[in-house]
Subunit: 411 residues, 2 copies
């Protein structure tokens, strides 16, 4: 561990990857730490992630954000600084690296914080390895975020709790909506998750008692078969008139073919375009044809990652804390690390601590949903998952409102 | 006007048509009035609307709902009593009518309140006309509800304000979500409204300043042309990198063909099913093909009518008031009427009064969005609409939360 710098150095912070409800809360945490810790001078933001920064996109966050702005920022979904999906060259001798570090030097950057998911941790890894090679004293720290909860070596990721809260709340309301008519019906809710079922699993939270909707939950981690699905639906309809089914967008059959692809060779529309569709639509048509009953499909779509109104306060606070901890780690001399959450083993009182892990061990890995938490032949979720996820959705943020609508922080 | 009954008579209340966020608030208002007014004995609910009632579905609401339940009911989306889509026979000599009135007599019903939209007002009309024919003293009153805001002779309908608040909030968040990347993109948001553009028009509320997203808004009341749409998009992309377009599901071309039908002859999927799609998907493919840029479509779906978390408090209170006013009107001797909202002409302080209108004048009519509020060649909304709609989305309900999720009232 290096000793901290004696004269204050500036922070550079960036956001990368897909938006979440709390990536700005982590930015808030970074800025708050920058303002409070004596080792830090100014806080600069890179616009459009590391890609935008290389083209000159930067902003002095100590200048542009008022106290009121900062408070709003904490509750603002999506990425205030703008984002990118960009991988730095694998070859550390590429010209991008000295150019980036030259800019760091010009801006007197001592601490670079990068808030993002898997690909962003790859950026942290490459920059810190290059920094080590050239003996740079810039400390480079990753702050995790992803609604997908698929990063390893952390109990969970900031952003995941808010996605869960949104999914559970909305599915509970869709259950109410679907229950008003006497006729039998099936409602299929398609949720985010191409490879990992973490978000879809959270739909189990909508259930109020055993046997309540959603009665069937399918994750990408379990093979999906249309015939078994039909049998599941038939059985469920014997017990309940209105059935809610939650599926991950990425469910696939035992041969590895995505269910959404079943509908994708449909041909072309009026203009000769290929029409793409989700697995929810494919299953809707399948159930309609097979059972001749009322069926609809609902795709919850981007609100899963950008609803500020139905975000989790616990998630927001933890995201801010992760940002703050990132600056603390950098100031303490750490580099090439990612902040991670460690759950203290206290069964009836949830508590997490922040620690840091080697970013090289995290990046380009994927944490899938544990198979032992998938039950009832791939149609249900184990109660241990409930104990795991419940603390992550607690609390409702007090979003500033004006004229009946949320006020967010804009650049 | 008849004189009020001297001995208390019971209320029968039913819900009908599609769910909204506030149809239960009206039920709450009916129950509250039933408990408070001395002319009323018990409050019975019909289960599954007039259709379910004919099969014996009823419940004593004075028995089953605790004080805590009642409070929850006010904030619970969808229809607590269950609903139906059912038209009584046109022929008033049909056997259904004497059977219904026989049940009314057995239950000592003096007041029948029916909460619903257009078709439900048709039920109110038929029952009150039959009642008049046979000299019944049962007073029959309609309490309006529909997110579509398409009932005539009322300033607006309960349910509409909450749909507007949900749409405006969610579109504002989608705007944030779409703005994080540097690359040009088009996001198409498909909103409810087969015939009337009231809900889609509310997306204009998401805008924070002139020129802000959503930059293009298309309602069913204006003809839609793919070529003009392409020109609109091209123009918008010259000014802004990320474009949000809001469209009603029911937009159609000058020949009257729905845009969603452009994609519907696509053929069949793997199982030989006809794949149906919305106009958002059709426009998404069109823009992708034409502009070769990033495009996505988002269908907001049923949450527009069943989000309890993003409901309008003003709407909830007005819905409860309409239910209460319905009972008052019945007790005062009215029958065959619908409660309506009348806006007092005070430009800077919104205030409504409840009055009642002849239900025969309301039912089977449709109030479309005023053409003079559709501007910029069918791509924008006049500011007078903003003044009209703004009061309807004010206030946030305090929804009871448990374990991080909303607690609603269930039968």
């Amino acid at each position: 561990m290096n000793t901290p710098s004696r004269t204050p150095k500036n922070i550079l912070v960036g956001q990368s990857g897909g938006p979440t409800a709390v990536i700005n809360a982590s930015l808030y945490g970074v800025i708050a730490a920058g303002h409070e810790l004596p080792e830090v001078g100014r806080v600069y933001g890179m616009l459009g992630g590391i890609e935008g920064f290389q083209k000159g996109g930067q902003i002095d966050l100590s200048e542009v954000l008022s106290k009121a702005d900062l408070k709003r920022l904490k509750h603002t979904p999506a990425a205030y600084l703008g984002s990118c999906r960009y991988k730095l060259p694998e070859d550390l001798t590429a010209p991008a690296y000295p150019l980036i570090f030259k800019k760091f030097a010009e801006m007197n950057i001592g601490y670079f914080l990068y808030i993002g998911g898997n690909d962003s941790m790859d950026t942290v890894s490459k920059l810190s390895r290059y920094g080590n090679q050239i003996g740079s004293d810039v400390r480079i720290i990753g702050v995790p975020k992803t609604i997908d909860n698929d990063l390893i070596l952390t109990d969970h990721t900031p952003g995941y709790g808010s996605a869960c809260k949104y999914v559970a709340t909305t599915v509970r309301e869709i259950c109410l909506d679907s229950s008003v008519y006497h006729n039998k019906s099936v409602t299929i809710v398609e949720l985010m998750g191409r490879h990992a079922g973490w978000i879809t699993a959270a739909s189990v939270l909508a259930r109020k008692y055993e046997g309540d909707n959603p009665v069937l939950i399918y994750l990408p981690e379990a093979d999906f078969s249309m015939e078994l699905f039909a049998a599941d639906i038939e059985k469920a309809l014997q017990k309940k008139k209105n059935i809610i089914v939650c599926v991950s967008e990425g469910i696939s059959d035992p041969e590895g073919r995505f269910i959404c692809e079943y509908g994708n060779h449909v041909g072309t529309d009026t203009f000769g375009h290929k029409m793409l569709t989700g697995c929810g639509k494919v299953l809707e048509e399948f159930v309609r044809e097979r059972f001749q009953i009322k069926v609809r499909s609902v795709e919850l779509n981007v609100s899963q990652r950008c609803s500020g109104m139905i975000a989790s306060l616990a998630d927001i606070e933890e995201a801010a804390r992760a940002g703050y901890a990132g600056v603390e780690a950098a100031v303490a001399g750490e580099t090439g690390k990612m902040i991670s959450f460690y759950r203290l083993d206290q069964s009836d009182h949830y508590q997490i601590n922040c620690r840091f892990v080697d970013v090289d061990e995290v990046c380009n890995q994927e944490k899938i949903f544990p198979v032992e938490w998938i039950t009832s032949h791939g149609t249900d979720i184990h109660k241990d998952f409930l104990a795991y996820v419940m603390p992550l959705i607690q609390g409702t943020p007090e979003v500033e409102m004006k004229d009946g609508l949320p006020v967010y922080c804009y650049r």
